[in-house]
């Protein structure tokens, strides 16, 4: 996001500095203007989209986009990832349309953006044909969702990412307090060619190999017994459960959890 302050038509009357920033996030720029507390209007341009944010007293008090006015416009504008942020001389509205404080608005925007990204990931996952490898970012993120106990908090935090494929975090044996999904000890995803797409948790590298071999053996068992299309393999021991899911894309997702963990939501998600 580029940002620059428009220099007034009479430079000798202006005070302060002009700035030209690159790679700043819109959230940072908005927070910066809120801290200043000044009354001003910012024009945000992102591709063909143009929107206006009205600042007064450290808050965004009004917003306009091509299709929305008020908070919905602010959320739309704050959802844009790239563009230009510049102050302008747009006229002040007769009535201010936003009552929420700026931090609240920014959190809502972050949450809306996260939800949008999640829906997009799901659409991408559904659209991937069987023969093609799945998108690595989305797959790694799915494993991250299974092993991270902080999903809800992360959804509300702006501009936090789980680091993608390069970020392989060793997690403690038991995560999170109560939720079954958050107590997954290890998870690993292997693509149809046997490449480890992502892995998290103790012993997850080993789990990747175990999952790949188990699926192959289970498919052979199924073929010889006339049982078609393997969906999943689930093993239970006194203190541990292992769930291995064969996804439509051909990828294999393996996870280990304590025996009392509830994997129902995972089964539901993958239709097993």
């Amino acid at each position: 996001m580029n940002a620059h302050r428009e220099v007034a038509s009479s430079p000798e009357n202006s005070v302060g500095f002009a700035a030209n920033l690159k790679h700043a996030s819109l959230t940072d720029l908005v927070q910066m203007h809120c801290l200043g507390g000044a009354q001003c209007v910012a024009r945000i341009t992102s591709g063909e989209h143009v929107g206006y944010l009205y600042f007064r007293g450290g808050n965004i008090v009004h917003a306009m986009s091509a299709s929305h006015v008020g908070e919905s416009a602010a959320l739309e504008i704050l959802g844009w990832n790239t563009g230009v942020f510049e102050l302008c001389n747009a006229g002040w509205p007769d009535s201010e349309s936003i009552q929420a404080a700026s931090p609240t608005l920014l959190l809502r925007a972050a949450h809306a953006r996260d939800e949008s990204n999640r829906k997009h990931r799901n659409l991408v996952r559904l659209a991937v044909p069987r023969s093609e490898p799945p998108p690595a970012r989305a797959e790694a993120s799915a494993v991250s969702e299974l092993t991270s106990p902080f999903n809800e908090e992360r959804a509300a935090m702006p501009d936090r990412h789980d680091g993608g494929l390069e970020s392989r975090v060793t997690l403690p044996p038991t995560l999170g307090p109560q939720s079954g999904v958050t107590r997954v000890q290890a998870a690993a995803r292997v693509d149809a060619h046997g490449n480890v797409i992502s892995s998290r948790g103790l012993g997850s590298e080993e789990l990747a190999g175990v999952s790949a071999l188990s699926v192959r053996l289970a498919q052979l068992v199924g073929e010889s017994l006339g049982l078609d299309r393997l969906l999943a393999v689930e093993g239970a021991s006194p203190s541990q459960r292992t769930l291995i899911v064969l996804e439509k894309s051909g990828s294999i997702l393996g996870m280990r959890a304590p025996s009392d963990a509830d994997l129902a939501s995972v089964r539901e998600r993958y239709g097993v």
Binding site: G203, E206, L207, V210, L213, S214, L217, A218, L220, V221, G222, S224, L225, G226, L227, D228, R229, L230, L231, A232, V233, E234, G235, A236, S237, P238, S239, Q240, T242, I244, R256, V272
Partner: protein, 154 residues
Amino acid sequence: MQSALKALRDIQGVFGSFVLTSSGELLDKDLPAVFHDEVFLETGPRIMRLCEAIEHGGEALDSLVLRFADHKLHVRRSRGGLLCVITDVGTNVPALRMALALVARRLGNVLSDPTEEAATPSEPPPPQRDSVPPPLSTRADKRQSQTYRGRPVL
């Protein structure tokens, strides 16, 4: 053992079952005739390897479920072997789990002490109508068996 396996069919959705030894050999089965014994020459060891693979890096398995599109293969570990049951996807899982536990316990007793199976009342074997008569003894056998006053008679 047959009666124990047949009892599993009381659970709705159970197609049949079979028992593998700890080395993966087929011990007994209660399955439709389409499942020949030859099928299990490779399948049995594969199921054992599958269990070993999942146990790798973890604990010994109590049970294993292979979920297919229309069927499930439930594997339950018992003393000295594996009890495997093929069901449809709509089987009452808690009922099946309970039945598996009971049958596995009974099988465990049989597998660990084969005389128990012989001691349990079972149906008499069917008469062998078309069975091949026992082979006639060979000439050498006759030589060894024919004696007179303690001496072999040629």
